[in-house]
């Protein structure tokens, strides 16, 4: 190709103190292509994009936009250079309308009216061109995340972006919404826009990109044509060693029911009915996976079983009823009944980030006589226990005296898992076990969960990652709007079918085209709650 690249980086380096986040990175992206950047957390993808969007200044290196050397000292310069960014966490003003959000910062004049009416026309045009339909007068608070993401894309296009950078865009989307997004991206590509897609999901890279660059520890390890590569090669390039992408496990040997949930209902403090008449069993020696888009009641379900949300209905553990309200419904009494809990949000519920690893290892179990010495805590013992667990769970670095926040996401998760799994619970509750966790650590975490299952324990897994549910669970229940929409066996279902269930469509025999699913989704988003 003799064309000028739409964007070219030459020798970009950036260090934060002793950490080299980007090391001599060079990359060329041709106009009208979709270029993927893949890498583990902390590989330096986001730093690189932040440099491109003027958030950070590179220590060394040059940026060329359409062949012209360009300085990007701030976001305004990036916008002027035709770069638009869709952040992982949307930068929208929640109580503004779509129109106001699009116009913000790109107003034509001191008065709003002319800008707003011009934007209204512009949005209409963009909507027709790229399937970017959004009601311009809707308030952000009232629309779903898929819609919000479209607003972010519209913001970039309204500012005349030719280069669109998307950072982990599918993390919050249902499979149908993700498909819609990819169709939008294809449309943009046809119009000659250049798209950079940052993700850690191999499947997306394979599906939509033309070329892909792999980053590892701040370095660009490879740039290849997508059609010339395959997922396992990419994974190996990312991690630096061979990785198992599939969970290795034998068929489950389920025995008696450990937990029996009947007609569980949860209403939150705002009066919203979060969990509606949910009933299920989890048997010894099996993993029940709960699939669903975030905010459809899965979190509340885990919280009830974990003892920090009140509910009505009945839950039996090993045949004995447990309290769902009142003084005997708390984490401590749940643990006493053999329930361990790896919460969804490890940084807020699983760990105290400013405390040491050894303190965190004791939390929840600090009443254990083994941790006591008279009226004092036996800190030396706890440190030793922590050291042992860290070694068994391959926590790096295995130093009990480090603060929880100084570990990477994967290692933080391993600390929580070590604390909970090592207690040998009858029932393990696991929420989003691999959110923000590197591929290498994912493999390990999945193996530990399967190992616990094979010891004859019951496991309730909640995850928004369909791949994870499909790979790990022995049985899958899909939640939508607080209800269980149906149960499937992984071997007898498909991502498409689960995706429809996640969107609240049970009648999966009917053929659906995408727009219909989308319409239903949009309609129900209000009811499904808005977590993000």
């Amino acid at each position: 190709m003799s064309e000028t690249p739409a964007i070219e980086l030459k020798g970009i380096s950036k260090a934060f103190g002793p950490v080299q986040a980007n090391k001599d990175i060079s990359i060329r992206v041709m106009p009208g292509t979709i270029h993927g950047i893949i890498g583990e957390n902390g590989a330096g993808k986001s730093t690189l994009m932040s440099i491109l969007y003027g958030f950070y200044k590179a220590d060394a290196g040059e940026i060329f936009i359409s062949g012209k050397k360009t300085e990007i000292p701030d976001s305004q310069a990036a916008i002027t250079a035709g770069i638009g960014m869709v952040f992982q966490h949307f930068k929208l003003v929640q109580n503004f309308t779509v129109l106001e959000n699009v116009v913000l910062g790109a107003e034509d004049s001191g008065l709003l009216k002319p800008s707003l009416s011009r934007a209204r026309g512009e949005l209409k045009k963009l909507a027709e061109e790229y399937e970017l339909n959004v009601d311009p007068d809707a308030v952000i608070d009232d629309i779903g995340v898929g819609m919000q993401q479209r607003v972010e894309i519209l913001k970039a296009l309204y500012r005349g972006a030719d280069i669109l950078i998307l950072d982990e865009p599918t993390g919050v989307l249902t499979p149908a919404e993700a498909d819609h997004l990819f169709r939008i991206l294809e449309g943009l590509k046809r119009e000659g826009k250049t798209i950079i897609l940052i993700t850690h999901k191999l499947r997306e890279i394979m599906e939509v990109t033309d070329t892909v660059s792999v980053m590892r520890r701040g370095e660009m390890t490879a740039t290849v044509k997508t059609e010339d590569t395959n997922p396992s090669e990419l994974a190996e390039l990312m991690v630096g060693r061979k990785v198992l992408l599939r969970v290795e496990k034998t068929p489950a040997q389920p025995k008696q029911a450990i937990v029996e949930v009947r007609n569980l209902n949860v209403t939150d403090e705002k009066g919203v009915h979060r969990v509606k008449d949910v009933s299920f069993d989890v048997r010894a020696g099996e993993i029940l996976g709960i699939a669903g888009v975030a905010g459809n009641g899965q979190s509340e379900l885990l919280e009830v079983l974990g003892g920090y949300e009140v509910a009505t209905g009945s839950v039996k553990i090993n045949g004995q009823e447990i309290d769902l309200t009142g003084a005997k419904s708390d984490g401590r009494s749940r643990r006493a009944r053999g329930i361990s809990h790896v919460p969804e949000d490890r940084q807020r519920e699983g760990l105290i980030m400013d405390f040491h690893a050894w303190e965190n290892i004791a939390f929840g179990y600090h009443h254990d006589p083994a941790y006591q010495s008279g009226i004092l805590m036996n800190n030396a013992t706890i440190r030793q226990v922590c050291q042992d667990k860290m070694e068994r769970f391959d926590v790096r670095p295995p130093d009990p005296n480090l603060l929880a926040k100084s570990f990477s996401g994967g290692n933080q998760q391993k600390i929580v898992l070590a604390r909970e799994i090592e207690r040998d619970p009858d029932l393990l509750l696991v929420g989003q076990p691999t959110r923000g966790v590197d591929i290498g650590a994912i493999e390990f975490i999945h193996q530990e969960i399967v190992r616990l299952r094979d010891k004859g324990k019951a496991i309730l897994l909640v995850s928004v990652e369909l791949d994870e549910i499909m790979g790990l669970a022995d049985r899958i229940a899909v939640m939508f709007d607080g209800r269980i929409m149906g149960e499937r066996l992984p071997s007898e279902t498909s991502e498409q079918e689960l995706g429809l269930l996640m969107a609240g469509i049970t009648d999966t025999d009917r053929t659906h085209d995408h727009s219909e699913v989308e319409a239903q989704l949009a309609e129900r988003h209000g009811a499904a709650g808005k977590e993000a």
């Binding site: 976001s75 001191g110 709003l112």
Partner: protein, 321 residues
């Protein structure tokens, strides 16, 4: 109760509501941009003193107003420096300004004028005159409407009219201009403003500067229009009441007008009816004086429905990633 008594109470309501309203709108600009401003009180007090002092010395009330605004904006700049530039705690910075103003005004007043922490009584051109609106005298004898026009609408200092004009002006700025859109956005989600290529720090400084301006006018009004000179602690908690009114008003300009008028009315009633004899017992004067403060407590305890403050209020903006 005859029409005249009612008109007198309402007339005094307007006078007493004006400083509250100006301070309330000051707080509105600041908090809509995400900067809590508990220092309204201190800024008003400092402005009251400096405007009275300069008016007393020069005999020029306009110079006094300028001095009041200048000191108030300067204190705003301190607040901005502490809480925007250096990302300090906005409450503590505001409290510090209040203490500073409370102490310094009296000390400086004593040093300059040696009248026990007061400024000399302002007279003539050192004080704002009441404006008599056109035709007020002529229409005075028209039944009902005449007295209303003469007593209630006409006959206030120009600062009162300015204060009330700021209500539609504030509304227009907030909801009809680019500046207002950005200002509101910066108080809700500064990251959105930042990534849109607009300076968060610039917007927030602009907001606290406007707050300074309005507090300056409010303070000057107290010392050079409502009263004739500065006395120790003459703001008497009006800055805090303005904050309560702001919450009551749900950070909206027109609601702010209503809630400030309500507070002003309670103050006016407290002054006009020192003792109310209910037959069974007599309501003590202290209770009447305490009415606005009691309402403040009730409002702040959240008895008037849910008020959702700007989401980024109180948080210094730190660039992420």
């Amino acid at each position: 109760m005859d029409l005249n008594t009612v008109l007198l109470v309402l007339d005094s309501t307007v006078r007493l509501a004006t400083p509250l309203l100006l301070a309330c709108l000051a707080g509105l600009f600041s908090e809509r941009a995400g900067i809590l401003d508990i220092g309204l009180e201190g800024k008003m007090l400092a402005a009251a003193f400096f405007s009275a002092a300069v008016s007393a010395v020069t005999g020029q009330v306009l110079l006094g107003l300028g001095a009041g605004i200048a000191i108030s904006v300067a204190l705003s700049a301190v607040h901005g420096l502490a809480s925007i530039t250096f990302r300090g705690n906005q409450l503590i910075s505001g409290v510090a300004i209040n203490f500073l103003a409370q102490g310094l005004t009296v000390v400086i007043a004593q040093d300059w004028f040696a009248q026990g922490g007061r400024t000399p009584q302002l007279e003539g051109s050192g004080r704002w005159d009441s404006l008599t609106l056109p035709l007020a005298e002529t229409l005075r004898d028209v039944p009902v409407l005449g007295p209303i026009y003469y007593e209630l609408i006409s006959g206030h200092s120009i600062l009162v009219y300015i204060g009330f004009l700021f209500v539609p002006l504030t509304w227009w700025i907030l909801f009809r201009t680019r500046f207002g859109l950005r200002l509101r956005a910066v108080g809700e989600n500064p990251a959105a403003v930042d990534t849109a290529g607009v300076s968060v720090i610039g917007m927030r400084f602009a907001a606290v500067a406007i707050a300074g301006l309005l507090c300056g006018i409010a303070g000057s009004y107290l010392a050079t229009a409502l009263q004739a000179g500065f006395t120790k602690d003459m703001t008497a908690g009006r800055g805090y009441i303005a904050l309560a009114a702001l919450i009551f008003a749900k950070w909206r300009p027109w609601y702010a007008l209503m809630s400030c008028l309500l507070f002003g009315f309670l103050q006016a009633v407290g002054i006009r009816f020192q003792n109310i004899d209910l037959g069974v017992f007599e309501v003590p004067v202290q209770f009447m004086d305490a009415l606005p403060y009691i309402l403040t407590v009730i409002i702040l305890a959240g008895f008037v429905g849910k008020a959702i403050p700007p989401r980024a209020g109180g948080q210094p903006y730190v660039k992420e990633r």
